[in-house]
């Protein structure tokens, strides 16, 4: 919901922007750093004195670019946190001159800074992608700001923060309100503005939607130095129009399993068969290990800016694991951040949205609460051991006990032709038994007195 609500904020709302801009002047600064990558020589420069990131989304922090600098397609923001945490990140790119949001991006990331290094700044860093339409950068005033917001356990441990634009060949110049002229690049350390409150959207229905979750399982086992496997995954975008389609899809992969070497290289990409014939959309990925479990966060972005026209796609998430021994690696959860329409969710109700008031009234009257049904779940537990239901429970448990791994009372010696004769014959017997029982069952259904 939050993700899509951010996405829906592309529209203008000047009247609400001005009060919110007052948050510019609510300094909550503590010591931290900015690491800024020079796009020309790909070296990183650490900027001290960046604002702190507090532990909620109420104080967005960021920096801005001064007027006249051509910043197009700011595509990736890197962050580093000296603690292991899952964080929600929101990014806003704002045209300050015209007081409007150009682009919004958000994501869910697992971060730490176990291998922070200025020489290899990408190791174990987290990032999220953030796109700006090309036309904005070329046509309009580009006194723009980029602001990020963090949530969930980040605290004040954000140490590094920089952005990267692979397609940009010019030198980035960053304005500093505090005149940090002693660095090669000027940097802004002012608190950023928070833009999400009260901004109207052209797609308010998105706010009524909630996330959908889908699951799939993939299991590989054995030992190998390189394993490649694909996950076929249905991605349903048929519910979306061009206006409501999300800017990017967040696919979270949660995997149980053991990778003997935690430094293994895991390549991931999302293959989208598109109607225009293109596929193999390489995705941005991030991964981490927690207690031997592998967690990946895959972001496929620019769905809108790429002007895609697919509706329902069979997505393949492709993994290639190399550099370590893979043993029993199982994808236990694969979810996406797509929204689905929830018809039972309350709508906005106001004078201009009177329709929502009627819908809300009907929902209030006729849609039962989930708790109403959940109260039934514990009823059977109370009587499952009481007569007459207890007889069923006792017999069921006794029969299940027959399947348990009780030590065999005897063991047969090796049977000749076991694999060639007896195993196939046993398979035939299993099929035969079920077929005979099915016929018996059907004849009995025919005679059943209902």
């Amino acid at each position: 919901m939050m993700l899509l609500s951010r996405v829906s904020m592309k529209s203008k709302n000047h009247s609400l922007f001005l009060p919110i801009i007052a948050l510019f002047f609510l300094p909550t600064l503590t010591h931290a750093s900015i690491l800024f990558e020079n796009a020309l020589d790909n070296t990183a420069v650490i900027y001290d004195g960046f604002t702190n990131i507090d532990n909620n989304l109420s104080n967005t922090q960021g920096f801005s670019f001064f007027n006249g600098v051509s910043i197009q397609n700011v595509s990736r923001v890197y962050i580093s946190l000296c603690q292991e945490a899952v964080v929600d990140v929101e990014g806003y790119h704002v045209d300050i001159t015209n007081e409007e949001i150009i682009a919004v991006s958000s994501g869910h990331f697992l971060v730490d800074c176990s291998a922070v290094s200025t020489s290899t700044p990408l190791v174990n860093w987290s990032w999220f992608d953030f796109s700006i339409p090309q036309t904005i950068g070329t046509a309009g005033p580009v006194d723009t700001g980029f602001f990020v917001d963090f949530e969930a356990g980040v605290g004040s441990n954000l140490n590094y923060f920089y952005f990267d634009n692979p397609s940009e060949t010019g030198l980035y110049n960053i304005r500093s309100d505090d005149e940090f002229n002693d660095f090669a690049h000027q940097v802004t350390i002012r608190p950023a503005i928070r833009l999400d409150s009260g901004i109207s959207t052209t797609s308010p229905q998105i706010l009524q939607q909630q996330f959908n979750t889908r699951f799939t399982d993939v299991s590989i086992s054995g030992s190998s130095s390189t394993v490649t496997f694909d996950i076929d995954y249905i991605l349903d975008l048929s519910e979306y129009t061009n206006d409501t389609r999300p800017d990017f899809i967040n696919i979270n992969v949660l995997a149980d399993g053991f990778l003997s070497d935690q430094q293994v290289d895991v390549q991931k990409r999302l293959i989208l068969p598109l109607t225009d014939g293109a596929n193999n959309k390489v995705i941005v990925s991030n991964h981490e290990y927690i207690d031997g479990n592998y967690i990946a966060f895959l972001n496929f972005w620019n769905l809108n800016t790429d002007n895609l026209t697919f509706s329902r796609s069979n997505v393949t998430v492709e993994f290639e694991i190399s550099g370590g021994v893979v043993d029993n690696f199982t994808i236990t959860q694969l979810t996406d951040g797509l929204a689905v329409q929830d018809d039972t969710a309350y709508r906005d109700c106001s004078f201009t949205e009177i329709y929502g008031c009627f819908v809300n009234a009907l929902i209030f009257v006729f849609v039962p609460d989930e708790d109403t049904f959940s109260q039934f779940t514990g009823l059977y537990t109370v009587i499952e051991n009481k007569p007459p239901f207890g007889y069923n429970t006792a017999v069921k448990n006794a029969l299940l006990g027959l399947n348990s791994s009780t030590t065999a009372a005897f063991s047969l010696s090796t049977i000749p032709f076991q694999d060639d004769i007896f195993d196939p014959f046993k398979s035939i017997m299993i099929i035969g038994l079920w077929v005979v029982y099915a016929l018996f069952f059907m004849s009995r259904l025919d005679k059943l007195d209902i």
Partner: protein
């Protein structure tokens, strides 16, 4: 809200019956039956290499499940027919 009240009434009726049944003692199988089943289990594991006896158990389990469900259906139907003016 309306459905909440309707479902709440149904829940309270069922909960009342359940609480009456809950007063009864727990059902336990006689110890001899449990011992015999444990003994059988050891032989089943030995013979399963050449005969799919676990399949037979699955079928038996499914059959008992069906019988139990049918019995429960008859019980509910019998109770339902005891309501006045319902045949």
């Amino acid at each position: 809200m309306i459905f909440d009240y309707i479902i709440g009434i149904i829940y309270n009726i069922i909960a009342f019956i359940v609480n009456l049944i809950a007063v009864l003692d727990d059902v336990t199988l006689p110890a001899d039956i449990e011992n015999s089943l444990n003994s059988v289990s050891g032989y089943i594991n030995g013979i399963t290499t050449i005969f799919p006896i676990l399949t037979l158990l699955d079928i038996l389990f499914f059959e008992l499940l069906f019988i139990g469900a049918y019995f429960f259906y008859k019980l509910v139907r019998w109770t339902y027919q005891k309501i006045p003016f319902i045949n």
